[in-house]
Symmetry: D2
Subunit: 391 residues, 4 copies
């Protein structure tokens, strides 16, 4: 079995998630290309060291540039804050490395396009970490569509809502800052929803968007507090607040290339909601509802002349759905969030080994950003906006 | 159209429910025999007067014997406390009246048998108010069984759980008193579940039961409090308590005449539960789950060689289910609890007019009580008990 | 008790529903003004006669003008096809009658305004039959908002989706004809959703809409077939089709006077969906989800510092929710669709008797139509549109 | 970090599941004792080789006795067919190895006791693989009980139902054979339910059981078919059938040492059900419902004087629930079935390293078997049976 040297930049939530996926993929998928955890980079030395020890990387570094240039690193995984994606990805591409970048690919569609173009020019493989696309249920929904079992799509809705900033006392963090995060709920959560919409219903060509900041200012971290730690603030901390610079909510009307209508919702202030995307899809022969909070099942309605025994079916995922059987042969037993990342990594390794096209690559990542940008532009101009490029 | 004179005994929850059903049935079902609200009896004169005025009875009385003997009353509806059912029903039968009695029919199976025998001897029609049998969804489930679509039953479970006495501070009432209520949760709630089990799966011939009193004593009403009003008690009221005499919970293993296994549950101390019965039924070709709290739908699984798109279907009731269309032609719009009573009354009037057998008549009411009694006997003897009679 | 003479125009689905509600309201609500079913009108003589006999109207007629002018008729209920609402309502108003009109009030906002103005000028009471506003759960949600328990609204969504025209072989009917129905899914279903949105979140001042006809042409009824009977067509019937003239789906972005964002969806081609509206409402202190298909419950999330035991609560309706206790004292027992109409009629009678303002009156009906018209205009102009009037 | 040499016997569903868990545990839990995959045994040489390669075992063997005796193996994991557990576990104990055995521990309680006694005598650590005990939601339920938030238990129900043998054409396999499987649904599935019941509510001291074989005979595999492969049989295969020797369904009434009542259900013929256990637990202050098919959530009702906003809460699991945060910091993102096994292995390694008691050890495994055996004995004797030993 051939190996591929992996370098991971970042050791936070997603850095760990990547490392776990690279560890698990060999036994679960037996890929032709076996990942070798070569190098991990974190700006904080202890973080890098700890990750090295924990996941068994061969080496660690505090300098991501070192990682990108390292000859033993053939694939660079970028899990750093969004604002850094561009510079890191460009450097990795320039060094001829394949690049696996967390979503959103970049802060703007223009930046995303620059990355996609650079990767194409250099001929490296790229993948963006829209891991909800790996859900066995979702992929089966795609299969139902492709096989014609749901007829043609009449309309589709996707929403991604969480409550991580629903409490007005959640501290100001880089996520609220346009220069560091780009957009707010739309980029962080809505981009996942866009990835699903495009996967299932194709290119989005026109949008009308609306956005709102519902918590205009948030408390700044007191000395000793870490911004973004989502801790309830002390009275002291409330002394100072800072204006939130990007949207808490986004809504959009969509038109697909096919003419199909759709809608998009993103929110980080939706009390009670912990994960997304949610999906509703109506076709001429049936309908599907799907909620990521229960991603081990989906709701399926199949039109039938018989009415008295028909209704939405709660289909539990099982080994007859894509890749579920890699984890367990028993239906209804559930796979987990981390398993979705493992499927993503399996796809990545298979694509590199086999020369198969990867999905969603940077080109697709750009297309997703182009939709998000168009929504923001539409919200500002209060007009329908064509989605430029990315299709 | 012919008329039938109705006399209703009792003006509480169920007395009102009966009166509403007799009022509504004419327009909704256009029965051959049109009910005429002739006489209402309540031991409290104001109650009787109020009901007369509210529902448009021709007359009222404080003496149920007067009602039973009244020549204009052809059908006697009994909605008084359970302890009074027997005497009233016997008197009505003796007077040659048809009798419509609220469940449970009597405090013991022996009493229920006496009533059934008396009615048979006198040749009057009888009906017991197990109105959950009228649910369109439930009757469709019966149809699915009869038509063989679910195969043969492998096992069945029914439970009826509420929380109306879950709070230990709920006052002692006649429901806790063996002499007035007979059994506790079993008679009040479990009998409904038994009615469903027999309706769907036939006679129950052997049981093993277990019961418990989980709140051994309850506060006695303070002066000015009405026993059974389910009010949280003041400290003062707690000074005195009285032992609860019948079961808060009952569980039983069941064997049907067909050999099929089943279980029965009744509880009045199930926090969060507001209504029953719940039903689970497995057959050789499918399965059904049903919960009275959502009685406008049922869950249906139909076995199929295809696994990837199968699951329990949430079937919403519609005009293609028995009697739903009497209320509205639009599926998924829901009928209400009172509507079930109207369907029951329609069945009653139709049966009397057409000479059709009524279900569940006093004979069936006896059979249901026989099962409940056997459960109690089994719980006491700690042994399996044959259900005597009633099948 | 005083009486009020009722005249109902139309004997279809809604005509029957009105008659049932007027019958049931007296016992259930004991209104000061007792309805007397005076006159029923249907263009088909047998229909009028049948309704008279079935519901006990004093008289029937085939001429609605006769009904409107009848001195014994004090309240005119209009349940005819939408295209006739305007002429009938104007005639009733001119005759000094109170008017209870089914939704949508008129085919256009301009017509609705004309009706509202006429009613104001003549000083009669009016009510539009948006009966989902009567749902005990929904009214409790309104109460939660008014009491501040959910904080201030951050955003709100409402959708009304059914599948009654999802099958492309459903016949062409007056509902597909602009001249007879006005708009399609938006007017028929979406207007209900708008009524909820305004009830809960106040005036809507700006919209961006998008609509689509997803079944461009439908088969015309064969000889002997009744258009609109939703029968699957024979091959023969398919010989001829007719273009559908109004939208199968509508989506809109909304801005409320308060600045709050919202969305609106209406669809008559949503396979598997049988009723609406559905509602999602997020506030600064909690969230609510509600689906009319399960209108005897709602989902409630209340923000709390404690995370480990929090989640959406499935609250079953009970006597502690508005008007539920009129029907049954037992929680979780469910009321039905027809009961909502009875509550509506109780409100109507109470308002007339007490001189209380009615909600939603024709002015509100106009406001709802104004929103719908703005959505259609926006969809045509592909631009945000101010909602003119109606607020 | 210290290491411990692992030997796994068996490479089927559970053998793979164990190997994956031992692989994943180091990064996720950073245990003091790091597992080293030393040796894997499978009677089929290719199977052993394949597993060695796939999971990275140092060596493989076709002889489990070799594995048990191997000096580098310190912990023996037994995932072979149930009939072999006893001999293997005894040999491992005799060799002084810690033993991690899949459930059920043995075919009879007597055998289980022999194993528990042997382990105690030899002083080795043991663990039985009842991995559903590791569910974060379930452990939080236990915490709610222990903290008194649900009051004292009034009653509890557990059921484990699947449909893997619901189709009568499923082939006869070792699972149907008493000599190889012991009991049927009870041992395979019901034992899981018993493990939960004991975990939450303590020792079970008396039972009344009932069992049934609902598919009396099953087709024998045709030449070339593998028994137990759950393939629909050809006509040819149906020529020969073989009687099923153990129960398809088991029901039992339970009494706990505390006096609390409960019930137990196990079924392998429950169409539509894919996993268990399901749990319902009522206490004096609240209630819980839990279903393994949606084990990333649970339903919680907390009694409150306020009725209008109360109901069962759907609590999604998050990092505030036991061990969830090991996998992901984000609530509502779900962990998977394999993750439960990893938590189990973490507990195992921690217990061995720290000298902490393991749960459920062989003594507990015996107690669980003692309950199952008592149910079977009760079903045969048609009488309540004391649970002997195991408490």
């Amino acid at each position: 079995m051939n190996e591929i040297g992996i370098g991971i930049i970042g050791t936070g939530f997603m850095g760990e998630c990547h490392a776990l996926a690279f560890q698990a993929v060999t036994s679960l998928f037996q890929p032709r290309l076996r990942p070798r955890l070569e190098l991990v980079a974190d700006v904080v030395a202890e973080g890098a060291e700890r990750a090295k020890a924990r996941f068994g990387f061969a080496r660690s570094t505090t300098d991501w540039r070192t990682l990108v240039q390292d000859p033993a690193v053939e694939l660079v995984a970028i899990t750093s804050p969004n604002v850094l994606h561009k510079e890191m990805a460009l450097a990795a591409i320039a060094a001829g490395k394949h690049v696996y970048c967390e979503k959103p690919l970049a802060l703007t569609a223009a930046d995303a396009k620059e990355l996609a173009d650079a990767a194409d020019a250099r001929g490296v493989r790229t993948l963006v970490g829209y891991n909800y696309l790996r859900s066995p249920a979702l992929r089966h929904i795609k299969h139902l569509l492709d096989s014609g079992e749901l007829g043609t799509i009449t309309y589709i809705r996707a929403a991604f809502e969480e409550d991580y900033m629903a409490d007005p006392s959640v501290l100001f963090s880089w996520r609220c800052e346009r220069a560091k995060a780009g957009s707010g709920a739309l980029g962080d959560l809505g981009s996942h929803a866009v990835s699903l919409l495009r996967y299932l219903a194709g290119p989005i060509v026109e949008v009308a968007g609306d956005i709102a900041v519902t918590v205009p200012a948030r408390p700044v971290a007191a000395p000793g507090q870490t911004a973004g730690q989502f801790t309830r603030t002390s009275e002291e901390a409330k002394i100072e607040t800072r204006p939130v610079e990007n949207e808490d909510i986004a809504h959009a009307l969509l038109r697909f290339e096919s003419g199909v209508m759709g809608t998009l919702t993103a929110s980080r202030v939706a009390w009670g909601r912990k994960n997304g995307p949610d999906l509703e899809l109506y076709g001429t022969k049936g309908a599907v509802r799907y909620c990521q909070e229960r991603f081990n099942e989906f709701q399926l309605f199949k039109a039938s002349p018989r009415l008295d025994d028909n209704g939405f079916r709660t289909v539990l995922t099982g080994p007859y759905h894509p890749d579920y059987g890699r984890f367990t042969p028993a239906p209804g037993h559930s796979i987990g969030f981390n398993d979705l990342k493992t499927i993503e990594v399996a796809h990545l390794l298979e694509g590199i080994a086999e020369g198969k096209p990867l999905y969603p690559d940077f080109r697709e990542g750009f297309a997703i950003e182009a939709v998000c940008d168009a929504v923001l532009e539409s919200a500002e101009r209060r007009a329908w906006v064509r989605v430029e490029g990315g299709n």
